[in-house]
């Protein structure tokens, strides 16, 4: 096989696939693109059966050494990567998330603004056929959502009446209307492995990109390092069928994740004091609310509402913002006669600030594996969590709350962020605002590893939009 290509892409998850979506129309008809996927191609059905037989399938499937296993990091290998296991929650970040330092003197600013990214958010929402509120949004939008909003439950209706500018139907890629490839979401409530394939995944909506004759897709091909010479990327060294191979290319695109992106750069001897540092993700807290006289679960999907009441505001100079998810899954009804459905479950998802103590590095014992060191989330986040007992009674006053229970912190939000951050200053960031490596100018690093701060919003739509933005500026 001729191992010379125009582009090599590592990974087939959102960033790799959105890269192809943006790049293929620009590439010439004879272009050669190699895509390396560490995992296998698995059908949706097979995946469901595995989920059925293994209640905890969604754990780390890819070998990396976790020094703190009590803090899991969810990595899903195989074609489509994280899209196979996500819940398809697609809020945008808020404009002030991009300028946390300027506005609140906390964290750092992103090197681009919300306004710059807005057209790419819109394009990503069209690709994913996102359903969202049709009568407002917490952030400025240039176009309506492609799909109408999901149906609210009754508690949602009370909240949106009380907070018309801060409470909306969740923006989601769980179909409100059938698409050519996906049926309408029927509210089954097990979205990590949707039994009817209703949520957007790379498999059901973007697999055609990999059938393009210009694309060569290799499964079970583990990228080992980016090859460089004279400050330029020359290709990728990878392992296939137990044999180390080299592929050459003019452009190398890393679209792995925030554990494997920095690991590959470290193995490529592209050292930087901040490379791999600042590993973080959002921190979730469930709150269980027993209601007095209001039934729940009439919504049309698993998470119906998004609350922004504790998101942006002056409090962010002191403690972390959070986005509120209101769940519509009847997996724990009440015992009391006639009151089975008078319950509402919410998740308060707080942003975190990156901390250098949390890092990814090449394992000292097994050099072919990354290792993760996590010391914990920030005091800024903890202060946000600690604020809940004070703020919740007032915030939830529109609901007939009978009993409020703040549960513990969740072990993971399933996101991995911040280990190859973007920025204008090469001394404090790994890639520039167009996601090009500061030193190796034909090396692109995609995905949520480039996020300088986490924001409370789920990262997938933003990382997809960033990918389209980066391709447009190639």
């Amino acid at each position: 096989m001729d191992n010379t290509f125009d582009v090599i892409v590592v990974g087939t998850s959102f960033s790799g696939s959105f890269f192809l979506h943006g790049y293929l129309p620009k590439a010439n008809k004879n272009a050669r693109i190699l895509v390396l996927e560490q995992g296998q191609m698995k059908s949706q059905r097979r995946q469901q059966l595995q989920q059925h037989n293994k209640p905890r399938l969604i754990s780390s499937q890819v070998p990396f050494f976790n020094h703190t296993p009590e803090k899991p990091w969810i990595v899903v290998s195989g074609f489509g990567g994280g899209s196979r296991a996500w819940w398809a929650c697609t809020p945008r970040m808020m404009p002030n998330d991009f300028k946390l330092k300027s506005v609140y003197d906390v964290g750092v600013d992103w090197p681009l603004t919300y306004q710059e990214l807005e057209p790419y958010y819109t394009r990503s929402e069209i690709i994913m056929a996102v359903s969202g509120a049709d009568d407002g949004a917490p952030y400025p939008r240039s176009r309506p959502y492609p799909q109408p909003p999901h149906r609210f439950s009754d508690p949602d209706r009370l909240l949106t009446a009380a907070y018309p500018d801060q409470y909306f139907q969740q923006a989601t890629a769980r179909a409100r209307v059938s698409t050519a490839n996906r049926p309408l979401c029927c509210g089954t409530g097990v979205c990590n492995q949707c039994p009817i394939d209703s949520k957007f995944t790379i498999l059901n909506e973007m697999a055609h990109l990999y059938r393009d004759p210009r694309v060569t897709l290799l499964f079970e091909a583990e990228a080992l390092a980016v090859e460089t010479a004279a400050g330029q990327a020359t290709g990728v060294r990878y392992l296939k069928d137990g044999i180390e191979q080299n592929a050459k290319a003019n452009l190398v695109v890393l679209g792995a994740n925030a554990i494997f992106n920095p690991y590959l750069l470290q193995r490529s001897n592209l050292e930087h004091p901040l490379l791999g540092k600042g590993l973080n993700e959002q921190v979730g807290v469930y709150v269980n609310i027993d209601l007095d006289g209001v039934d729940n679960f009439q919504g049309s999907t698993s998470i119906t509402g998004h609350g922004y009441m504790l998101y942006d505001g002056v409090h962010r100079s002191k403690y972390a913002a959070c986005i509120i998810e209101v769940w519509n899954v009847p997996n724990r009804l009440r015992v009391e006669r006639g009151r089975w459905r008078q319950r509402c479950r919410m998740k308060f998802i707080f942003e975190d600030l990156p901390d250098k103590k949390n890092e990814v590095k090449v394992s000292t014992t097994l050099s072919h594996q990354p290792e993760v060191v996590y010391k914990g989330y920030s005091a800024y986040t903890q202060r946000g969590i600690d604020s809940l007992p004070n703020v919740l009674p007032k915030m939830l006053a529109p609901l007939p709350v009978e009993k409020l229970t703040i549960e513990g912190v969740t072990t993971t939000e399933g996101h991995i962020l911040g280990t190859t951050v973007m920025g204008d200053d090469p001394t404090t960031s790994i890639v520039d605002k167009y996601l090009i490596h500061h030193q190796v100018r034909n090396l692109m690093v995609l995905g949520s590893s480039v996020f300088p701060t986490s924001a409370p919003a789920n990262p997938t739509l933003t990382l997809s939009a960033l990918t389209l933005w980066a391709v447009d500026h190639l």
Binding site: R56, F297, N328, L333
Partner: protein, 156 residues
């Protein structure tokens, strides 16, 4: 060494204790308490007697649900908790003493889980939560085997 003679009083007391112990043992064995499966089944069934006595359910159908609950692959992890709770079966089934102990919240979660799974597996919500109608066990509620059967979801 001097032999102590057993007094009549001591003999009666020790005999009574012995008979009681043997009787308890026999009852325990006969009742299936030592059989984990039986004990779990009875503990789950006790939830129906304690919390759903106002509904018209058929015992055979409930036993069928319990069997499905215990054998369902996705409950494998949770069954460890059920097994632990089932050691307290006699106290749970025949008294409210456990409600004032540290087990209370675990028992409450257990009851919620059983009742949720059972009601979603039946005709109850599909027929408007009408307590006067007999509750029919349809099949074990598993979104992977029966997608789109959430009885509450609405689209209009």
């Amino acid at each position: 060494m001097m032999k102590r003679k057993l007094s009549r009083r001591a003999f009666i007391i020790s005999s009574t204790v012995g008979i009681f112990a043997v009787a308890t043992g026999i009852i325990t064995v006969k009742s299936g308490y030592l059989n984990t499966h039986d004990r779990m089944t009875k503990t789950i069934f006790a939830v129906f007697e304690k919390r759903l006595s106002y509904l018209k359910w058929d015992k055979a159908q409930v036993m069928s649900f319990i069997k499905d609950f215990i054998t369902h692959t996705r409950n494998k992890g949770y069954l460890k908790k059920v097994r632990s709770l089932s050691f307290f079966y006699p106290l749970y089934a025949h008294s409210n003493l456990l409600e004032r102990t540290s087990l209370a919240s675990k028992l409450h979660n257990f009851e919620e889980r059983i009742i949720t799974k059972f009601l979603l597996s039946t005709s109850f919500f599909r027929e408007g939560a009408d307590e006067t109608k007999p509750v029919k066990y349809l099949s074990y509620y598993d979104p992977y085997k029966m997608p789109c059967k959430n009885p509450f979801a609405q689209w209009l």
